[in-house]
Amino acid sequence: MSTAPVLKVEDLAVAYKTRGGDVPAIRDISFEIARGETFGLVGESGCGKSTTAWAILNFLGPNGAVQHGRIQFQGQDLLGRTADELRRLRGDQIAMVYQDPMQALNPSLRVGEQMKEVLTVHRGLSNAEATRRCIAMLERVYMPDPAGILRRYPHQLSGGQQQRVVIATALLNDPALLIMDEPTTALDVTVEAAVLDLIAELRRDLDTAILLITHNLGVIARTCDRVGVMYAGELVERAAVADLFADPQHPYTQGLLRALPRLGADKADSALYPIRGRVPPPGNRPPGCLFAPRCDYTQERCRVERPALRPLPNGTCARCHFAEQIDPAAWTPRADLAPPPSQTAADGGAPILAAAGLKKYYPLPGDSLRDVLGLGQKRFVHALEDATFAVGRGTTLGVVGESGSGKSTLVKTLIGLEASSGGEATFLGFDLTDDLAGRDAALIRELQMVFQNPDATMNPAYTVGYQLARPLRRLGVVPKSQVRAEVIRLLEAVRLGEGYLDRLPRQLSGGEKQRVGIARALASRPELVLCDEPVSALDVSVQAALLNLLLDVQREFGTTLVFIAHDLSVVRYISDQVAVMYLGEIVDIGPAEAIYAPPYHPYTEALLSAIPVPDPTAPPQRIRLAGPAPSAVDPPSGCRFHTRCPRRHLLPDGGRICEADAPPWRDAGDGHRILCHIPLATLRALPPPAH
C-alpha cells in the first residue's frame, strides 16, 4: 500500500495576464492531501482559493498561467500535460463540485440524461447499466424516488436536491480526488447540514481525497482533517483542524475567529471584532508581510521582510515572523474596533410597528381551460399566514427561517412592494395594508429598506454622492443647499469619508457598497429600516464590521430594525426579538435570549443543530430535517411542520393530532410564544443543541 499523497502542490504561483502586466493571483502555495483525507482551504473572497482549485484542473482561462511550482496528482505532474491527457484525468479520476448546482446542470436536459452521459461516454456502458448505476448512486446520496428524479429536469428539483445530483454525478466515476468549491454556500442551513453529513460519509466509504474550498469556518470544523488559511494569494497557516481552532498561530486566523458570530449564551461573550482594512488587491500588495497593514502586532521587520511559511513547535505551519511571541489570549480590541455596548432597551418604548393576522397569498394561475375561463377553483400560494408581532421603538426584530419560509414576503408586504391579502399592520398610526399608490411621502420617509445584494440595488452609472442625494431631494429631508453636507454626514455615519462622494459603485468593495446601501436607507431619517439579508453576501470580517455599524446606527438614531437573515448566529447577535418562520407562519417568537434557550420549538431546535459550529470538538448534532419543505400551495394540514418534525413522536399516538389540528400558541413566559402541540414541559426536558 503506498503512502504517497493523492495530491501534492508545491510552491504554486499563478498570475493573470492583463493589459497592465501580469497580476500575481497566488504564490507559494504548498499542501498535500492524502487518500481519504479532507483538506480545507479557507479565506475571504479574493484570496485565491478558487484560483488554486482551477490551477489544479488547468481551468485558469486564456489569460491565467501557472508561473512556477508543481502539482502532482497520484505521483504524476499535472502541469505541462496535453489537453487530451487532462481531459481523461478529469473525467476518470478528478471530479469537481461547484457552488451553484444550477450552473453545473444543463437546464434543458433531464437529470437522467446528464448523469448517464458520464457513464456512457467515459466508460462505454450500456444505457440500461448506466441507468442502474445512476439510481444506485442517487440512493447513495439519499435522494427519495431516484428513478423519478432521473426523469425530471433540474428546475423541478430543490437546491439541496440539485446539489445532491451534482455530487452523485461527480462520484459516478469513483474519483480519487474530489474538488468542492463552496459546495454548500448556496444552500439553506438545514440542507447544508445534510449535505455536509453526506460529504463526510462518502469520504469514509469511498476513500476519496477531498479539497474543500469554503469561507465558512464552521464547515471546515465539521468536515475537514487539515486546513490551509489563505490570505491575499498566500497560504498563511496550515494546520490540523483541531489545532487551528484551539490554538490559531497567525494573526489573520485569530482575527477571522474573532469576527465569527457564535451562538453564545449571552450577547456579551459573542462580541464581534472585525479585522480592520481590507485584503490588498493582487496588483498592489505590500512588500513585506501581506497582512502587516491590518495586523495588530506589526513591527518594522514585518514591513520590509516577507515571512516564510515555517513550521512551528506545535506542528502547524504559519507565515508570521512573530508567531511564537503572539498570544491571542492577551489580545484586546483597539478602540475603533470595540463593539457597541449591548442594547439596554430590550423592550424599548411603545411598539411602533404592529401586525395582527397579516396575510399574503399569491394567486396561482391554472393552466386548464376551466381556469382560463375563470371557472376553476382559484389556488393560492400561502406565502404569509397570520403574522402577529409588535416591534418596540429602537429595538430589532430578527426574522429567521429557511428559504421559502416567507421572510422576504413579510418585509415586502410591510414596505408596500406587495399588497397584503388580509390582516392588519400599523406603523406609527399609518395603516400599511392600505392602497400602495396612496402612501404619502411622510410614510415613505419613515420606512426604508436595505437589500441583500448591494450590486443589484445601486445604479452603476451614478456616483455614490448622487445616489445618496436623490432620496434627500425627493423626500425633502433637508433644504437643497444642505444636501451635500447631509450626504457627507451620512457617509461619515457609515464610517466612509467625504472621499467616497464621487466614486462609482464599481470602485467600492462589497462591504463598502453595503455601507452605502445602509446610508441611503438612513437618508430620510426613517423610524424603521427593513433589512433583507444585508450581510449574507459578505465575508465574515466585513460582516462583523457591518453588524457593529448597524448597532451603532441604531443607538445613534434610535432606529427600529427588522432584520432578516438565514444565519441564526447573526440574528442572535443583532436582535432583541426573534421570530422563526416556517412555510409562511411564525412558529416561534420571543426575546432573543429565550429563543436560543430551551424550550425550543422543534423547528428552531433543528435550525440550531444544523448550524456548522466553528469548533471541531463540538459533538455532532443528529437532528436533521427530512426532505425539502413542502409546497406553500397546499400547506400540510394541522401543524404545517408535521411532515418534517423530528419531535412529533413525543406526542401520544405518534403525533396524530399534529396532522389533524392546528397547534395552539404556548406561552413560555417573558413574551416567548411557541406554536406547537407538544407541551412546554416536554420541550423543556429536551437536551439543548450543544454550542
Binding site: 500500500m1 503506498s2 503512502t3 504517497a4 493523492v6 487518500r35 497520484q74 505521483g75 504524476q76 491527457e85 481523461r88 473525467g91 476518470d92 479520476q93 467515459h122 466508460r123 462505454g124 456502458l125 447499466e129 466515476n173 469513483d174 474519483p175 480519487a176 469511498l206 476513500d207 476519496t208 481525497a209
Partner: protein, 218 residues
C-alpha cells in the same frame, strides 16, 4: 471481510500512452511495485510490475549503449505490460480468503480489483497482511487467549456463554482446526479491558476446554 473492504482504493494508474521509462520512474517515486495500465473510463489494459522492466536483450539489434537508449526512449507501457487477458483479477465482492487463495495458488503478489472491466482498486500482498492484522485487531491492546476445544457442536457456545456472563468485550475471534491434532479446534479470542490473570482464572474453568496460550497483545 470482502475484497472491497481491504483493497487499496484509487490506486495510482498509468495511461497507455505513458513511456516505460516514465512509468518506471513513477513506480520508483511513489514506492509502489504494481501499476495497472488503464484506458478511458479506467478500463484495465494491463499490469506493470518490477519484472516488466527486465530488458530482453534479444529485442535489441545490438548491445551498443546508444542503441539501448534509443530503444528505451521509444518503449511505451503497452510494450512491456502484461496484457489484461493474461492478468488475474478479482471482483470486489469476493471474500478476502478467496482472494488470498488465488494469490497463493498462482503465486501472484497483486490482483487488480475489477468490476465490469473497470479497475476499482488493487489488492496486494501487503493489503492481505494488513487485513490479517485488522481481523485480529492488532494495534489495540487486549488479552489474547487461545482455547482448545473438541470439534463438536456446542463447544463454542460454552465459551461465548462464559464470555457473556463476564460481560467482557471481545475485539476479535479466529478459529482453525488444531494443527497436527485431529478432532480439535483452536479458537483465538482477544478481549479488552481485563488482565491476563482474570482471563486465565475464568477461562480455565470452561468444562472440557483448555487454555493453550495466553498473552498480552498490542
Amino acid at each position: 471481510m470482502l475484497v472491497r473492504d481491504c483493497m487499496t482504493r484509487h490506486p495510482i494508474v498509468a495511461p497507455p500512452t505513458m513511456l516505460a521509462a516514465e512509468a518506471q520512474h513513477l513506480m520508483h517515486e511513489s514506492d509502489i511495485r504494481h501499476l495497472p495500465v488503464v484506458g478511458d473510463g479506467k478500463r484495465l489494459l494491463g499490469l506493470l510490475d518490477r519484472l516488466s522492466f527486465a530488458l530482453d536483450p534479444g529485442a535489441l539489434p545490438s548491445l551498443d549503449m546508444w542503441e539501448i537508449a534509443r530503444h528505451l526512449s521509444r518503449l511505451s507501457v503497452i510494450d512491456v505490460m502484461t496484457p489484461a487477458e493474461r492478468v488475474a483479477t478479482i471482483s470486489p465482492d469476493r471474500s478476502v480468503e478467496r482472494a488470498a487463495r488465488r494469490m497463493t495458488e498462482q503465486k501472484l503478489s497483486c490482483l487488480p480489483v475489477v468490476e465490469g472491466g473497470v479497475v476499482v482498486g488493487l489488492l496486494t500482498k501487503a493489503d492481505l497482511l494488513n487485513a490479517f492484522q485488522v481481523l485480529m485487531e492488532l494495534p489495540a491492546e487486549g488479552v489474547r487467549v487461545t482455547m482448545r476445544m473438541p470439534d463438536r457442536p456446542g463447544e463454542f457456545a460454552k465459551l461465548t456463554a462464559v464470555l457473556g456472563r463476564q460481560a467482557w468485550s471481545v475485539m476479535a475471534i479466529g478459529a482453525y482446526p488444531t494443527p497436527r491434532r485431529e478432532g480439535f479446534y483452536d479458537a483465538v479470542v482477544k478481549i479488552c479491558g481485563i488482565s491476563m490473570d482474570e482471563a486465565r482464572a475464568v477461562l480455565s474453568q470452561v468444562q472440557g476446554q483448555e487454555v493453550v496460550d495466553i498473552r498480552d497483545a498490542w
